[in-house]
């Protein structure tokens, strides 16, 4: 129930957008969260954008062109006397010098768009994504493969602004029938160096301060207590010794007096 409602609103939105501004749109973020990445940009395929130019009984194809934004000053023309431009990624130095052809695919079916509710279905997911989205920069190998003859769609440059354009081609006659505007500027992600990550913890936690300070105080008190008890014992010992000595000397005196024939001096008083 809910999913069909979502699909319905999405289709309405799609129609609305197509009517107002015909520009390639970046894929919705709820569908493709990881977009754009460093080297790829995922676009929505041009649903219902070329409806007015389509005639039955003719075959059509859509070309996707990409260029760096800086290149628009040099050349942003993709039609050469009603023929589509044929420059490749290498020829334009990755879009720096002008638009290059990034992809060729069938015109998306406006009448029966893929059901976005099927995204949750593992078996249908890749089909829905394929029909609905196109990922610029998806092919990491074609540049280095000498046997690759198709349209090469190699990774884009990071931290660079790109623009995209769809073109409708009549494949029977080889003539461009329609085109969208250049898309809004889309910037690939910037990368940061992990070296610059600061791992310093900053302020100390209260735990650490409490534990350290209290323990230091306790240790100090313990040592002080130990010293106090040792000194008190030592004092007691010396006091004991002195009293013993005194006793001894007293005894000696008494003994002396006795030996001299005097028993207790007090007796004489």
């Amino acid at each position: 129930m809910c999913s069909s409602w979502v699909v319905f609103t999405f289709c309405c939105l799609g129609q609305l957008c197509a009517g107002k501004s015909l520009k390639p749109q970046i894929a919705a973020s709820w569908l493709a969260a990881n977009n754009p990445t460093h080297t790829t940009v995922t676009l929505q395929k041009p649903f219902c954008m070329f409806d007015s130019s389509l005639h039955p009984n003719k075959s059509y194809a859509v070309y996707l062109y990409a260029m760096e934004e800086s290149a628009s000053a040099i050349s942003s023309l993709v039609i050469n006397s009603s023929k589509p431009l044929d420059s490749t990624f290498q020829q334009t130095r990755g879009g720096q010098l002008g638009p290059y052809k990034a992809a060729l695919f069938n015109v998306p079916n406006c009448a029966s768009p893929p059901r976005l509710a099927d995204v949750g279905d593992i078996n249908k997911l890749s089909d829905v994504l394929k029909q609905y989205l196109f990922r610029v920069g998806d092919d990491g190998n074609c540049l280095y493969d000498p046997n690759f003859l198709g349209i090469c769609n190699p990774p884009l440059a990071p931290d660079t602004t790109y623009r995209f354009k769809y073109l409708l081609l009549d494949t029977t006659e080889g003539i461009v029938k329609d085109q969208t505007l250049w898309s809004d500027a889309i910037k690939t992600r910037r990368v940061k160096l992990p070296l610059k990550i600061d791992t310093w913890p900053g302020r100390r936690s209260g735990d650490m301060i409490v534990i350290t300070s209290i323990l230091s105080v306790l240790m100090f008190l313990l040592l002080a207590g130990f010293l106090a008890s040792v000194s008190s014992v030592w004092k007691a010992k010396t006091a004991l010794k002195i009293t013993k000595k005194k006793k001894k000397s007293k005894k000696k005196k008494i003994y002396k007096n006795k030996s001299m024939g005097l028993s207790d001096p007090k007796l004489f008083q």
Partner: protein, 259 residues
Amino acid sequence: MAKSDGIRILQGLLVFGNVVIGMCGIALTAECIFFVSDPHGLYPLLEATENDDIYAAAWIGIFVGFALFVLSILGIIGVIKSNRTLLLVYIILMLITYAFEMASCITAATHRDFLTPNLFLKQMLERYKKSEPDNNNDKWMIDGVTDTWDKIMVQNQCCGVHGPSDWQEYTSAFRATHNDADYPWPRNCCVLDDQGSPTSVDGCKLGVPGYYNSNGCYDAISGPVNTQAWGVAWFGFAILCWTFFVLLGTMFFWSRIDY
């Protein structure tokens, strides 16, 4: 007569205090052994950050716990027999043990602060699947970090430290060997099926909800380590507070023993 009654009460208290110290010692040893045995397999991560002093604290805790247990027995005997020499030995050894436990406690508390997300983030980016180790030790750490991360991400169904975007925001050793178009993040960030392969590589690459793990692993890493370190620190602290009073009492008792 009154004085000897007081001494008897003090003796009883000290024996009780030492019994508690002995039991706490065993508990501390047990706790620290649990920590050191690394039940969550997180040690390689801490080792690679060169910040494994928390484990050092736990090792000290093991020995201190045992020492406390043995010393408490010595203390009980000394107090009951009122033997001066025995008690002096007890006090001195206890002070040394006290200092060690203090070190363990403070180390654990301090290093809990160092377990910041950025610490793990940096290490993950610099070491995960790094292809060219500098030396054998480095290779050892890289393998440890890689295996641990692979395991954590699968077990906890998480990705990166804060989330998969970690792999997008920063360059990494992983990025040097895995291009962004095919591996925006490691495959273990994808939702895996029973065979351990991604349910949908395309969905995972694009970040379609439900096909990649969008939450970060920081909680899964720091949670256990933090709790255990917290235990070592605060339990050690509690033992030290208790021991403080017992030791003071013992010193008083020691200085009041008659010949």
